[in-house]
């Protein structure tokens, strides 16, 4: 029986259906936008490992390429992204502007770079923050167990029941949107799956002999949690964090579409896409498709990298 199976059995308060659902999630090979990801038992049957790896490398190349495009690109391809130039507004692609211009007369390629910076910054910040918080919360809940664990996990259940986007929009409209608030609002709704995942793992890890041995030697709880338990769940958590990057790109785009974005001239891929949608009937296709492709490509690439990482961690877990 694998560690994860025992984690599932250790949950006393769950309904059988929920337990079964989690067990089912274990055997699942999907990118984790909609469900907590846990190691799959039969993933190697599901996807040919070799094909998966080649795909993962391709995904990594695309991801790194996008990061370079957004952060190094502006150094090589210099455009004015702050001034409004109404003479150049909504120009179709030409030799001077290969992808045309925005409604403010800014070069569209430059817009993609600047917008990508915001999007990727938000995505990586949310992934790091929510993972850190989720790991600590889940590790504490799983390690202490009992009533305390039950209370902490009921809170997670409750927040998870609130539809994600409603929760994020609510938080963002209570506060004035700036970069920090946006990151905070998405984080507030993203740490839950990590907490569940880590708690399940810790629940099974804490009964291991080396934890008992460590306690016998006089180790404090804090030491056990951070020296033994957390390092052991890091592999699974890394996969989860990768997929969070993809999720956040997606969610941040949705927020921009709903009008929760930074004040101009700041922009993001979601903002650019929204502009493209608003100008749909004017026929400015160059404002619609480039950000659309950027979003889909980045979400796909990061998901594929996460899948590859998942495979890698899975193989390591099987040897454990």
């Amino acid at each position: 029986m694998s560690a994860v199976d025992r984690g599932v059995e250790g949950e006393s308060l769950r309904s059988p259906a929920e337990t079964a659902a989690r067990a089912a999630v274990l055997a699942e090979d999907l990118p984790g936008r909609r469900a907590p990801r846990l190691p799959a038992k039969r993933l190697r049957f599901v996807t040919g490992a070799a094909a998966q790896n080649r795909l993962a490398v391709a995904g990594l190349v695309v991801t790194v390429g996008l990061v370079l495009f957004c952060f190094v690109g502006p150094l090589l391809y210099r455009t004015n992204q702050t001034a409004t130039n109404l003479i150049l507004e909504n120009r179709a692609p030409s030799a001077a502007h290969l992808l045309g211009t925005s409604p403010e007369g800014r070069d569209e390629i430059g817009q993609l770079m600047v917008g990508g910076q915001t999007t990727l910054e938000v995505a990586f910040s949310v992934a790091i923050l929510s993972t850190a918080f989720g790991v600590v919360y889940g590790a504490i809940a799983g390690y202490i167990g009992g009533v305390f664990d039950a209370i902490l996990m009921r809170i997670v259940d409750a927040v998870l029941a609130i539809p994600f986007l409603f929760f994020v929009v609510l938080l963002a409209s209570i506060m004035t949107p700036n970069l920090f608030v946006i990151v905070l609002a998405i984080t507030a709704a993203s740490w839950l799956s990590t907490a569940r995942l880590v708690r399940g793992e810790v629940l099974s890890l804490r009964t291991r002999d080396y934890v008992a041995a460590s306690r016998v030697f006089g180790a404090r709880h804090r030491y056990v949690i951070f020296r033994h338990l957390v390092p052991n769940v890091l592999g699974v958590v890394a996969v989860n964090a990768t997929l969070k990057v993809a999720d956040t790109i997606y969610i941040y785009a949705a927020m921009a579409f709903l009008g929760l974005s930074l004040p101009p001239p700041a922009t993001s891929w979601g903002d650019l896409l929204t502009t493209g949608i608003n100008n749909l009937f004017a026929g400015y296709w160059w404002q619609l498709w480039p950000p659309a492709i950027a979003i889909v490509l980045s979400v796909l690439a990061v998901n594929v990298v996460g899948d590859g990482l998942h495979d890698l961690v899975e193989r390591r877990l099987e040897r454990r």
Binding site: S15, A35, R42, L258
Partner: protein, 315 residues
């Protein structure tokens, strides 16, 4: 079975209680307080104090929570000063339309995704499986509103057969059907990619089980093994999965309603977020969450009905 249902029901109530605590805390963490948020920055101190008194905002917080909770249970979710209507009456207008949208698209998504997933599981790693896999992955990575826009371009602009907005929803049955097609299609397609990928791995798992080998060994045809054994066993886990994904379906509805101007709770919520109409925002969150909790309760009951082990073991 009864014990299981009672326990599951109590759990749902506990979750709703915690959600209402969270909503109450958010209500009281509004910038400048609830009264300022309602009256606006220009209100006089006298007005503020008066409204605070009538709304009972000077009492201790736990008492206020008790009063608010009892009111919420009675269906009194506050008053929208922006729309000049009670939140409850707004919800009675808007919620059924969203439930219709979510309900139809979920049912259709299941109806399409289950056969696709089964076919893919059965034809694992063949060319057609790879093609379907790649298409569902791309659909999966595509934001809902982009999907909707592509439909608008294809079916309302290039080939003008369907309306691109649903503002007129509720006018007459004939136009309603046409108006509903694009929102449902958009919401449905995102879910298909998820459900079918889930179904596929569930079927692949089941095909490795001993009972499948036995079923083949006693001379059943592939079709019979798939339809009468694998389908039911894969459906049980998919069923629960669908219950667990309900929050995401409602999130999708928010986007789709905003894109097509479909007058459901999502659009109500979106407009309220732009007007900073807090009673509506919080009322919608509470009611939508309740819908999700009830939905997953129903999914669990459905699961118990599909899977005899759940029915008998615990009771």
């Amino acid at each position: 079975m009864t014990a299981y249902l009672v326990r599951r029901f109590l759990q749902a109530i506990l979750v709703m209680f915690i959600v209402s605590v969270i909503v109450f805390i958010l209500l009281h963490s509004l910038p400048g307080g609830l009264v300022r948020a309602q009256l606006g920055p220009k209100a006089s101190t006298y007005q503020v104090l008066q409204l605070e008194r009538t709304e009972g905002l000077q009492r201790p917080l736990p008492v206020q929570f008790g009063v608010w909770l009892i009111n919420a249970l009675k269906g009194n979710l506050g008053f929208s000063y922006k729309m000049n209507q009670t939140v409850a009456s707004l919800l009675i207008d808007y919620l059924p339309r969203t439930l219709l949208l979510v309900g139809i698209s979920t049912v259709l998504a299941i109806a399409v995704a289950v056969p696709i997933g089964m076919w893919q599981g059965y034809r694992r790693n063949r060319p057609d499986d790879h093609v379907l896999n790649a298409s569902t992955l791309i659909l999966y990575a595509m934001p809902d509103f982009l999907l909707g826009v592509i439909f608008i371009i294809l079916l309302s602009l290039d080939l003008p057969v369907l309306p691109s907005t649903a503002t007129t929803f509720g006018a007459s049955l004939g136009t309603d059907v046409a108006v509903l097609v694009l929102p449902i299609l958009t919401l449905m397609l995102g879910n298909i990619s998820y459900y079918s990928r889930y179904m596929r791995s569930s079927v692949i798992d089941n095909l490795l089980e001993d009972y499948v080998r036995t079923a083949y060994a006693i001379g059943n045809s592939s079709r019979r093994v798939l339809v009468s054994h694998v389908l039911r066993n894969s459906m049980t886990s998919t069923m629960t999965m669908i219950g667990l994904t309900l929050p995401y379906v409602f999130s999708g509805a928010l986007i789709v309603e905003a894109l097509f101007n479909f007058p459901g709770v999502g659009l109500l919520f979106w407009n309220a977020s732009q007007d900073r109409d807090y009673p509506v925002l919080l009322g919608v969150v509470l009611v939508v969450t309740a819908a999700v909790v009830v939905g997953s309760l129903l999914a669990d009951i459905g699961y118990a009905m599909l899977d005899p082990r759940v029915r008998y073991v615990r009771s």
